[in-house]
């Protein structure tokens, strides 16, 4: 029998959260919550589009789809059928740094999901026909999310321009030419390289007994061999020294603009300061930039922002849709003006307090369901390196000072570190 070791224990509110490690390297995070007879079972893998290369972009996402196909023990379609028979909800997601598989299930299904997830971690079977069929689905997903979506097209351009060397350059869903040419062997290699217990964290939240869970985990995952997962070498993105801009024309009624400023990695202390800045600008109807762009100047129909929390340095993004008769340049000028004010020290206590209040509400709101709780734990285990960050970011955010805000604005929100995508309405012929 393999050994399971408890490696961490943490208390949050009325909950106890424990982390365990198997001998083969599999991490397990367990959080009992008996308020409803359901549980969430997530399997997070340390693999995303950052682990791809030119020619096979999109393989992490395509492979996520293929993981629902066949294994040595379960024929194609059985995985979904067995879980839906239990009343379960099944999904998965891939991003730049991670891939995760999520199920929400009624409590009696614990042993079923443990067996199924352990099985597909080690016994996937893949045929050319299965690959080709799913390739079509993914190509169509790309048409839906990117090619026929103004916003999707703009985000793809933004990352492609902002990152020249790093893997964040290409879209998570992949370039269409790669989706259409990824081969069966590419997929098999990808599976054998990255789908291993020592590259995964299982997160279980809800109504179950931890001892029973550990016994199931030991039974089904205990014999899976760990593998040599190659260290992520990555590519250093050179420091951006001048503004990058591109204009594109799309089938849209009014102009749109995306601004992406280079931001630090999600584990860097300044990341949280940028979160506060973003909240000062956009979180709530009285937030500085939102109010100016949408209500006071009435130049935008929508304005928002977000800071991408990634393992490597990412982007702080400003996203505006213009009203008829207004150009995206007007929004850019106004955003620049507000950033400069902040850089010069114009940060009011009341703005900082307001941002913190909004963040505190959002913090609690992210723990609505067992699935949401599992997502927060899994995300932080992979991206922040420790699941406790799901809870510990909050007090850190609340302690951020005006000086830190001003300093971060000066450091990151500069035109030379900015990439701009302006979308203009296509001229009618």
């Amino acid at each position: 029998m393999t050994k399971i070791q408890k490696t961490q224990e943490y208390r949050f509110s009325d909950y106890s959260i424990e982390k365990f490690t198997l001998e083969n390297g599999l991490s397990v995070i367990a959080m009992e919550d008996h308020s409803s007879p359901v549980f969430a079972y997530h399997t997070w893998f340390h693999v995303g589009s950052r682990n791809e290369r030119d020619g096979i972009t999109g393989i992490a996402h395509l492979f996520e789809h293929l993981m629902f196909k066949e294994t040595k023990n379960h024929k194609e379609g059985e995985f979904d059928r067995i879980l839906e028979e239990q009343g379960g909800k099944i999904n998965a997601a891939t991003y730049v740094d991670w891939t995760f598989y999520r199920q929400s299930l009624p409590s009696p299904a614990l042993s079923i999901i443990t067996e199924l997830e352990a099985d597909r971690m080690q016994h996937m079977i893949l045929s050319q026909q299965q690959l080709d069929s799913e390739r079509e689905v993914v190509a169509n997903e790309r048409r839906y999310r990117v090619d026929n979506s103004p916003s999707g097209s703009m985000y793809e351009k933004l990352y492609a321009n902002a990152f020249q060397n790093h893997a964040y350059h290409w879209p998570v869903i992949g370039w269409m030419k790669d989706i259409q040419s990824i081969g069966l062997q590419d997929c098999l290699d990808f599976y054998s390289t990255f789908y291993a217990p020592n590259n995964a964290t299982v997160v279980v939240v809800g109504s179950f007994d931890t001892q029973e869970l550990l016994s199931q985990i030991e039974k089904h995952y205990g014999d899976i061999s760990s593998s040599q997962v190659p260290s992520y070498l990555g590519v250093q993105e050179p420091i951006q020294k001048e503004a990058r801009e591109e204009k594109i024309s799309l089938e849209i009624p009014t102009e749109k603009v995306l601004l992406g400023y280079k931001s630090p990695a999600g584990t860097h202390p300044d990341y949280l300061v940028l979160e506060i800045i973003n909240s000062i600008f956009f979180d709530g109807r009285s937030a500085g930039l939102y109010k100016k762009l949408v209500h006071e100047k009435e130049i935008c129909s929508q304005a928002g922002g977000w800071v991408n929390q990634t393992k490597d340095p990412g982007l702080h993004i400003f996203d505006c849709s213009m009203r008829k008769g207004h150009t995206s340049q007007e929004a850019i000028d106004l955003i620049e003006e507000e950033i400069q004010k902040l850089q010069k020290g114009n940060c009011k206590d009341e703005d900082l307090d307001r941002a913190k209040s909004k963040i505190e509400t959002s913090f609690w709101n992210q723990f609505r369901t067992v699935d949401h709780k599992a997502q927060a734990l899994g995300f932080h285990d992979l991206v922040s390196g420790n699941f406790t960050q799901a809870f510990e970011e909050m007090p850190k955010l609340l302690s951020i000072t005006k000086d830190q805000v001003i300093e971060a604005a000066q450091k990151y929100l500069n035109p030379e570190q900015r990439t701009t995508i302006q979308a203009l309405p296509r001229q009618k012929s």
Binding site: P106, E136, K291, F367, R426
Partner: protein
């Protein structure tokens, strides 16, 4: 499954029907104050008036400007919104528990002494025009809007809750004030609260929010008439350079209180529900890889409803996908596409996934409110498991035969119309209409 006894019920307090769904794991409270008058009450030519009044309500009181209100809400980390449905006008508040009292006082002031400022009336009109423009970017929305309008032609469900450009243009401050008086009063008002709240605070909340509301009398407007579809009709919502289409097909169907609803939902779930085992998903996505999503179901509203199928294939596969959808629909109702085993599977799924309908206080509250607004009898929610358990395969098939009609369809496709030339001939559809996507 025996959780139904744990679901709280409505109480009557000082003449107000109210419900509390407590849960204390997070220091958040949500309340919904529901006035059962919605967009059905908007006069012809002034569609969107209730929605307009709801937005304007939050933009100033006799003592506070819009800026002051929005700033106070943000400082409380709270949100306060007005949501308008066909049959209801809902004020939703959400905040940290420690800020509840402040939010309640602000809500009371907003409800009782709105300013309906002239400047804000004009600003809101401009904002709504911009929102209408923005909606032109969303292909799925465009296909769905065209589908709904043509499905319910002549019925109030065909009207957009937000109105349209000319109707918004015609709204005056006096219209808004009249609508305010028509909606904001005590008659038949409902209050729901969920989250971290104690019994005494709940009772206090009922008094704060409801006791000061003026007396009034509310007329409940119904509209059951839906014209039958005489022959298949296809609408192409024409947008340039689409490499993918979005299509809805379906027909009017039963309303939310029809006795066959649960049986039909179970059948529809087997055919085109959100589960992977559903036939439609299997045929469109799993077997053919034609689309990332393929789903459908019964959308049962209070006075009428619809059955629909929805998917989004690439342009080149569209005609075949519509053709297959029509064929599958026919085989599902009149043929042997839906096996007994799949119907049983669908039933089990509905039973076993029941805990996810009640796993958060917000979901329970939302179901309780929706059942009330749909005029469902007391205990309807609690009887879900019994109703589904009692379904026979025969009942499900009979419901499908009685309420689904694959021969009389509205088909709405967002596409580049020239790419689908001749679709009506290929599908043997008598009527086709091409509508520019940006037609005002």
């Amino acid at each position: 499954m025996n959780q139904k006894s744990l679901i709280p019920s409505w109480i009557s307090h000082h003449g107000i029907d109210a419900i509390q769904i407590p849960k204390h794991d997070r220091p958040l409270v949500k309340f919904s104050l529901i006035f059962p008058t919605g967009s059905f009450s908007d006069p012809l030519g002034k569609e969107g008036l209730s929605n307009f009044m709801g937005d304007l309500l939050l933009r100033g009181t006799k003592n506070k400007s819009r800026d002051q209100i929005e700033s106070q809400l943000d400082h409380l980390g709270a949100s306060l919104n007005a949501y308008i449905g066909y049959h209801s006008f809902m004020i939703d508040g959400y905040c940290l528990k420690r800020n509840l009292q402040d939010l309640l006082e602000l809500t009371q002031e907003i409800l009782l002494s709105p300013s309906f400022d002239d400047g804000e009336v004009e600003k809101l009109k401009n904002e709504l025009y911009s929102d209408f423009m923005l909606r032109l970017e969303d292909d799925q929305d465009l296909a769905r809007d065209c589908f709904s309008k043509n499905l319910f032609q002549g019925n109030r469900y065909a009207r957009d809750v937000s109105g349209n450009k000319p109707s918004i243009q015609g709204i005056t401050k006096s219209d808004v004030e009249k609508k305010y008086k028509e909606i904001i009063h005590r008659d038949k008002v409902l209050l729901g609260v969920s989250g971290d709240i104690e019994e005494h605070t709940f009772l206090q909340l009922i008094e704060t929010l409801c006791s000061s509301l003026p007396e009034g009398s509310r007329e409940i407007i119904s509209d059951h008439h839906v014209s039958p579809i005489k022959r298949n009709k296809i609408f192409l919502v024409d947008k340039p350079e689409r490499s993918q289409t979005q299509f809805f097909l379906g027909h009017p169907c039963l309303h939310a209180n029809h006795q066959d609803l649960t049986a039909l939902q179970c059948f529809a779930n087997a055919f085109a529900g959100s589960i992977f085992q559903a036939k439609y998903m299997q045929e469109i996505r799993v077997k053919r890889g034609w689309s990332y999503g393929a789903s459908g179901g019964v959308d049962a509203k209070r006075d009428a409803g619809s059955f629909y199928l929805y998917t989004f294939p690439k342009t080149q596969d569209t005609i075949e996908a519509v053709e297959l959808s029509m064929k599958l629909f026919d085989q599902a109702v009149h043929g042997d596409l839906i096996e007994d085993q799949l119907l049983e599977f669908s039933k089990q799924y509905m039973l076993r996934s029941y805990p996810f309908k009640i796993d958060t206080p917000e979901k329970v509250l939302s179901r309780r409110i929706s059942d009330r607004l749909l005029d469902r009898p007391e205990g309807y929610f609690e009887s879900y498991v019994d109703r589904v358990s009692a379904l026979s395969l025969e009942q499900m098939r009979d419901a499908a035969k009685a309420h689904l009609d694959p021969k009389h369809l509205i088909i709405s496709i967002l596409c580049t119309a020239k790419d689908l030339e001749g679709i009506e001939n290929r599908l043997h559809i008598e009527e086709k209409e091409v509508i520019p996507f940006d037609l005002e």
